[in-house]
């Protein structure tokens, strides 16, 4: 299978199980495209992640598009976008309505309570792996830690936290 086709197939599978959002696919995807196949570099992967933070809109879908773009140009970028939201959309459509009918069923309460911790672990893992991928020493780690503290400890708009990271980077601290 060609690299673009393999990427799109893999993304379709990953997005269908991306509980907690697309960030939860980052560790696995990073392993697949950087370590296993070497299609793009660690740096490229981190760049795709960074760039989409600065544009509004569907940013994780865009990140997958840029990875696709690096691997197979514009057609792969578009196919990667489709692969990222296609299966989740189909699942959302299928489940919507049906879910409401069983809202008070004990099994649904258990599914809610059981899925939650797993999705949390997956999202934190996504952040952790991106912190490692973009790591350039203790200053990057300090920025990551500061961002965690600011989001948890203040009501600051995340946009400013991202911006501050960019400014510190522009000053040549990283």
């Amino acid at each position: 299978m060609s690299a673009p086709l393999a990427l799109v197939a893999y993304l379709t599978m990953l997005s269908a199980i991306s509980f907690g959002g697309i960030p939860s696919v980052l560790p696995d995807l990073h392993d697949y495209v950087v370590a296993t196949h070497g299609w793009i570099s660690d740096r490229d992967f981190a760049n795709c992640f960074a760039i989409v933070q600065a544009v509004p809109g569907p940013n994780m879908i865009l990140m997958m598009s840029f990875i696709g773009w690096k691997i197979g140009g514009l057609p792969t970028a578009m196919a990667s976008a489709l692969a990222t939201f296609g299966s989740p959309c189909a699942i959302a459509y299928a489940v919507f309505g049906w879910w409401d009918r069983f809202r008070d069923a004990p099994w649904q309460q258990a599914v809610r309570r059981g899925l939650m911790p797993v999705t949390i672990g997956l999202v934190v893992a996504g952040g952790f792996v991106m912190a490692l991928a973009s790591d350039t020493g203790w200053t990057a780690a300090a920025i990551t830690l500061a961002a965690i503290g600011l989001l948890l400890g203040t009501r600051l708009n995340p946009f400013w936290i991202i911006g501050a990271g960019g400014v510190l980077g522009a000053c040549g601290l990283l």
């Binding site: 760049n47 960074a50 959309c89 004990p106 258990a110 672990g121 893992a125 991106m130 980077g169």
Partner: protein, 190 residues
């Protein structure tokens, strides 16, 4: 969606173009978490949903795979106009914002090798990684007194980030176990 829901709510004014435009706005407003903007536009400004309906949809979407906002988009579109509504809302959310974002981002990527831009991208990437971690930790706070929840969150994290296991394996093993544990935890309700 269901006939009953449609009968309760006169949704004739919620046309396909209106769905397209509403979610186009949500998508472009983007900064600071799009869910905030769905609320502001769909609930407060347009009055299409009341608080309870919105909370229900968000609650469902947090448990489904994929981007939460995309799921909300599909559910709101489907609620008022069925499959065509879901597609219109989705098209509004994706088409124009994706094209704009892709054009801008591709430009950045072309120059990503320049030292000045590299520094910025590294800083942004480090901060954004921190935000992801913090988002997860914040979600964990309400569950901090449930040992089983902490255990499964830790296992999911370790499986993916430390042991580097495939996502499919982590999900396929941990989700059933975690649901089972959550079921055991409240035998009275079962």
């Amino acid at each position: 969606m269901s006939d009953a829901a449609a009968a309760q709510r006169p949704a004739t004014h919620i046309t396909l173009p209106a769905l397209f435009v509403a979610f186009l706005k949500v998508s472009l407003a983007g900064f600071g978490g799009p869910i905030v903007w769905v609320r502001r536009i769909v609930v407060e400004r347009l009055g299409w949903l009341d608080e309870q309906e919105f909370t229900d949809i968000v609650g469902l979407c947090q448990f489904l795979p994929g981007p939460n906002v995309v799921c909300i988009t599909i559910c709101v579109g489907a609620k008022f106009r069925g499959p065509a509504g879901a597609l219109s809302a989705l098209a509004g959310f994706i088409l124009i914002p994706w094209t704009l974002g892709f054009a801008v981002g591709a430009l950045y990527l072309e120059y990503a090798h320049l030292p000045a831009l590299q520094g910025i991208l590294r800083g942004v990437s480090a901060a954004a990684a921190g935000l992801l971690i913090a988002t997860g930790l914040r979600l964990l706070l309400p569950h901090r007194r449930r040992p089983a929840a902490l255990l499964f969150a830790a296992l999911a994290f370790a499986g993916l980030a430390v042991a580097k296991l495939p996502l499919l394996l982590v999900v396929a093993v941990l989700v059933p176990l975690s649901v089972l544990a959550a079921r055991q935890a409240r035998p009275a309700a079962a």
